[in-house]
């Protein structure tokens, strides 16, 4: 092999090594991330040359009905949030309780138990802890479903507290007036007492609150409250007005 051939072979070998290294770098996670970042910046760079049209997406509805009706509607639509939050806190607390505190404390208790404690007691406590853990996992899974599924979490809390001293007529009048709070509408301010029972159509973008569009009784069923000051409509309970077939 002459000098020219040897040099050529070395060059080939070097090229192969470089390609292998580049290939390995490209296949590794860091290499991929770098590649993506450069692609991301490249896209943004091309977009930076042309900005989007300002306000190209606009809220379509700009009609302005009366303010009180709108506020009631907004309140109505907002209420699922708190329950979602409470559900999340409940899930976290339960998970924390079971997975961390209970298990740790049971273990600590078993460690601190007298040496002569019978194996039966230990076994019983261990099995209780195990059963608790299983329950926790099952409940956590159920909560996770409840939180992620808007049908299960968007439970409806509606106004239905009534003064027990009210006369039937006064109560009926008030419930009719408050009936606006218990049914969502597709557009704020498009209904009044006269069209309440006939004009409602489900708004699919607002999930479960719109699933029940049956004509509403002006005299809802009420039950005595617990504090002597009021009564609750059973539909006003968290999750009260939901399609139970969809619940976990």
């Amino acid at each position: 092999m002459n000098t020219h051939e040897a040099l050529f072979m070395r060059l080939l070998l070097a090229a192969f090594i470089l390609l292998s290294v580049a290939r390995q770098a490209g296949s590794s996670s860091d290499g991929r991330t770098q590649r993506y970042t450069s692609l991301w910046l490249r896209q943004a760079g091309s977009d930076a040359a042309s900005l989007v049209e300002p306000g190209s997406v606009r809220a379509a509805r700009t009609d302005l009905p009366d303010r009180a009706a709108c506020t009631r509607h907004l309140l109505q639509q907002s209420q699922w949030t708190l329950l979602q939050r409470a559900g999340g806190a409940l899930r976290d607390a339960r998970r924390d309780l079971f997975r961390k505190r209970v298990r740790q404390r049971v273990r600590a208790h078993l460690r601190a138990a007298p040496a002569l404690e019978s194996a039966r007691v230990r076994l019983q406590r261990a099995s209780e802890a195990g059963a608790g853990r299983e329950t926790a996992d099952a409940l956590a899974a159920r909560d996770a479903r409840a939180v992620t599924d808007p049908v299960a979490t968007d439970t409806k809390l509606e106004l239905s507290v009534t003064a027990t001293e009210e006369t039937t007529a006064a109560r009926t009048t008030r419930l009719i007036a408050e009936g606006d709070l218990t049914r969502p509408c597709t557009s704020i301010g498009t209904r009044d007492a006269s069209d309440r029972n006939t004009e409602l159509t489900p708004d699919t973008s607002l999930d479960r609150d719109n699933t029940d569009v049956r004509p509403r009784n002006t005299e809802p069923t009420v039950r005595p409250g617990t504090d002597g000051t009021g009564t609750y409509d059973t539909d006003s309970a968290p999750g009260g007005n939901v399609d139970r077939r969809k619940l976990p």
Partner: protein, 310 residues
């Protein structure tokens, strides 16, 4: 052909083969990699196809904030700015280190397209502050200058739109509410603030809820709902005693009373006040026989079991 020429030809053939060997696995990698495929589709100016690839990548690796960001990019390129903003914000919440000039540029552009003037101004300012000399900052200056002539949508329209997208795009809804709350002369400012608090609790930005100005007491329903959201934020931060104090501070009116009782029971359970919690739960059970209360009852039983073990 001479012997030397034959050797040279063989070497060239070997070199080509080696180069192909080196290149082939990279092609295979790109084919298996949905993110790379998404960017390739963007290069070919096929945003919908790119979006599908980015979504596939995000589904394959849901924990990746970067993949969420790329989904946002896909939506942006496809012209769906609400979804783009939602995914950008979600990715940022998941991994704040994702912020770079390009990210801030895209986010500001989303606000621009959605007509959120106040948010857009803030976003351009953040971009210019981030790297004043970048090409993105130049674009930001230009956009901020041109946006001054643009009239902002009415608060009411913003609230409506926020409510429309709230269930599916809570980050975008929060942006709408924040914009509405920033319009000083609007008659809907209090409503916007209350609903911003609700949305912020939904996306677990509880600290920001606590920084919001309370609603005026002249509007009892809104003031009650705002207080309830503050209590929910405190509960979200696991400041149970403060949440309980906030709930006890006022008497909640009809529309939020059920929720206040529910949250109060939750606080009592968390605070270990079992007897009071048991009473509260019993009262709730009498009037609310629902799944949600069943959860609370289960939690109370768990705490009692815990105490018994202790």
């Amino acid at each position: 052909m001479s012997g030397r020429a034959q050797r040279d030809a063989a070497m060239i053939a070997a070199a080509i083969a080696l180069l192909l060997c080196g290149a082939a696995p990279r092609r295979g990698l790109a084919a298996d990699d949905p993110v790379a495929a998404g960017f390739a589709a963007l290069e070919r100016d096929r945003p919908r196809e790119a979006l599908a690839h980015f979504i596939a990548a995000s589904r394959a690796n849901p924990a990746s904030a970067r993949n969420l960001c790329y989904v946002g990019l896909g939506y942006f390129k496809a012209g769906d700015f609400e979804n783009a903003l939602e995914y950008f914000e979600r990715s940022l919440q998941q991994d704040p280190s994702l912020v770079d000039s390009a990210f801030l540029f895209y986010r500001a552009n989303c606000y621009r397209a959605l007509g959120l003037r106040s948010m857009e101004r803030t976003a351009w300012k953040a971009l210019i502050d981030w790297d004043p000399r970048s090409r993105f900052a130049d674009a930001g200056r230009e956009a901020a200058a041109s946006g001054r002539r643009e009239r902002a949508p009415q608060s009411r329209a913003l609230l409506e739109r926020g409510l429309d997208v709230w269930h599916k795009l809570p980050h975008a809804a929060a942006a709408y509410f924040r914009e509405a709350a920033s319009q000083q002369e609007s008659q809907w400012r209090t409503e916007a603030r209350v609903f911003l608090a609700c949305a912020l609790n939904t996306i677990e930005r509880h600290e920001e809820v606590l920084q919001l100005e309370p609603a005026p007491e002249s509007d009892a329903a809104l003031a009650g709902l705002m207080e309830l959201q503050r209590a929910a934020a405190l509960a979200g931060l696991e400041r149970w005693d403060e949440a309980m104090a906030a709930l006890q501070k006022r008497s909640f009116e009809s529309v939020v009373r059920g929720q206040a009782e529910y949250l109060k029971s939750l606080c009592l359970i968390q605070l270990g006040r079992q007897e009071e919690a048991t009473d509260a739960l019993a009262a709730l059970k009498r009037v609310f026989s629902t799944e949600a209360v069943a959860h609370l009852v289960t939690l109370a039983e768990v705490h009692m079991q815990h105490r018994a073990l202790k």
